[in-house]
């Protein structure tokens, strides 16, 4: 009977459990969970603040998930060391657990750049975990002025989540636009406008230089009074365990298509990893939920002796604020052609290079965008489809009769 150990208890871990169980129903599975909560997906915490979900409904899997899959979970424990030679891990409690196959799903941690006077801020929070959300919820009152450092996905979702709970919300970012990692200027401007229309104040191209209690001094010299500070500048992959065990690590833990690290029988999945993005043909950290699950699942299948690959990863994001949605996927490579469609309510930007759709940004109109995503993921030659029709509207009709027959007349 094989012994599987999973460090971490997020979506990647859940994927790993389900991947293992798809192949091996007998082996033992131990999950090391730093958090006291059963598995949930981090992005849900902003919806928690919005009352769109609650602690019960947030659970990623049913209440009987661990029991059903015969998983023992060590809640509140962290792994402090992996011994690749002896195939053991050591917990913070000192307990040593042997493994036949190990999956590292340690996720990422907030990255806080050095900022002067940060220690003077009484109410400062990250926005990564349920516990962060619960703490913020406690701290924020209807009179609170909230300052969020970072206009990325986390910062803005936090802003949306706190909307209506706080007196004012200000978001600042060193970047000149919101969501700078996924949107270009034009798209970001539309998003920003919409956020501003909903009462979010932005200070862009600048960040806090210094904190003095409940006052932030910006690089621009402007000062912002606040009661609650949320630090959402960025995240760093948690790579230390693998790195210390001698595994190859860059900005994330390096994994192959089978989600294997350079250490024997050690796999890694989720936000802690760095892997191949086929849309840009480069290796990068893509801290994304769908990929995390798929990596975990792939790792799990392989740990249990099956054969799975995850070889078509692309970055993609579905995010929305105050009813305005945004879908992005792939990349916008240099020298690409852009197909654009835009009006007051929506923007569509499709990026094409070398007869392939490499990426897109869509705001406002989200109908059937998965068809575009599949074009990127499958690297479909655009000359083989009717792209003139497709770019106007995603549709199977433009994918050719054979593909349509394959999809609609049989099981896929």
């Amino acid at each position: 009977m094989k012994q599987y150990v999973i460090i971490g208890n997020g979506a990647a871990a859940a994927g790993c459990i389900e991947g293992i169980r798809a192949v091996d129903t007998a082996g033992s599975i131990t999950v090391i969970s730093a958090e006291q909560h059963p598995v949930y997906c981090r992005p849900l915490i902003s919806y928690y603040l919005q009352h769109k979900t609650d602690l019960q409904r947030m659970r990623y899997r049913s209440e009987t998930f661990y029991a059903d899959n015969h998983v023992s979970v060590a809640f509140g424990r962290t792994a402090i060391e992996i011994s690749a030679d002896t195939k053991e891990i050591t917990l913070d409690s000192g307990e040593i657990i042997a493994y036949d196959a190990l999956c590292v799903c340690t996720g990422s941690s907030p990255f806080v750049p050095p900022m002067q006077g940060l220690e003077t801020v009484e109410k400062q929070f990250a926005f990564m975990t349920v516990d962060d959300a619960l703490a913020i919820e406690q701290a924020v009152t209807p009179e609170s002025n909230v300052l969020i450092i970072g206009a990325g996905l986390i910062g803005l979702k936090c802003a949306e989540g706190l909307h209506g709970r706080a007196g004012s919300i200000t978001v600042c970012d060193l970047a000149p636009r919101v969501l700078s990692s996924i949107l270009d200027d034009k798209c970001a401007a539309m998003m920003q406008k919409h956020l501003e229309a909903n009462g979010i104040r932005f200070l862009l191209g600048t960040s806090a230089k210094e904190f003095r209690g409940s006052k932030a001094v910006m690089q621009s010299g402007e000062t912002v009074d606040f009661d609650v500070l949320v630090l959402a500048v960025g995240v760093r992959a948690n790579t230390a365990l693998v790195k210390n065990a001698g595994g190859d690590v860059n900005r994330g833990i390096l994994t192959d298509d089978a989600c294997k690290t350079s250490l024997p029988d050690v796999y890694a999945a989720g936000d802690c990893t760095e892997y191949h993005d086929i849309s840009s043909d480069s290796v990068k950290v893509m801290a994304l939920m769908p990929n995390a699950y798929m990596q975990g699942h792939t790792a799990g299948v392989n740990m249990a002796g099956g054969a799975a690959v995850f070889d078509n990863a692309i970055p993609m994001n579905s995010i929305g604020f105050f009813g305005l949605h945004c879908h992005t996927a792939g990349t916008q490579p240099d020298g690409c052609e852009m197909y654009e469609e835009a009006d007051e309510t929506h923007i569509k930007r499709l990026f094409v290079k070398n007869d392939r759709l490499t990426g897109f940004m869509l705001i406002g109109h989200m109908h059937r965008t998965g068809i575009y995503t599949a074009l990127i993921r499958n690297q479909t030659p655009l000359s083989s489809v009717d792209f003139a029709r497709l770019r106007i509207e995603p549709q199977l009709a433009a994918m050719g009769a054979d593909y349509r027959e394959h999809v609609l007349k049989g099981a896929v």
Binding site: Y47, T373, V407, V412
Partner: protein
């Protein structure tokens, strides 16, 4: 398992399936009350190709469903082959819309995700699109599984 399949040689492009779908999932007992004056959000879409051939597309209930793997809320699951959404868990992030390669998960009136659940959760008893198709262009039958 039984799935919905289309026979495009018999599809007339009348779009009754879309309206029947919207009505079936409206929770109302009168189609006029359910749909009059409203924009419909059907879970089945009629497409027209360049040659004018029409056919309806709805969830394929994939063997290896990427929507299930992608749902951040754990709201999409596969039960007895049927992929369904737990609407109490869905937070409306629309990741499923972004990943479904066939464009079969769509936004509902309230901004949450919805998709064909084979009319198993409404009072139709059998898929409304199939029942209402005037020309037998949509069928609900067993055709074997993908490898």
């Amino acid at each position: 398992m039984k799935r919905i399949y289309v026979k495009e040689e018999w599809c007339l492009g009348c779009r009754l399936c879309e309206y029947n779908c919207a009505f079936a999932n409206s929770g109302m007992t009168d189609m006029v009350k359910a749909l009059r004056g409203k924009e419909i959000h059907p879970r089945i879409q009629v497409e027209t190709d360049a040659d004018g051939i029409t056919y309806a597309v709805s969830c394929r209930h994939c063997t290896d469903p990427i929507c299930v793997k992608s749902c951040i809320a754990g709201a999409i699951s596969k039960k007895d082959g049927v992929i369904e959404i737990d609407h109490s868990k869905c937070v409306g992030c629309l990741t499923c819309v972004l990943v479904c390669p066939y464009g079969c998960v769509v936004e509902d009136e309230g901004g949450a995700a919805q998709k064909c659940e084979l009319c198993m959760k409404n009072t139709c008893g059998a898929p409304a699109c199939v029942k209402g198709c005037p020309n037998g262009a949509i069928v609900y039958e067993e055709r074997g599984e993908a490898e």
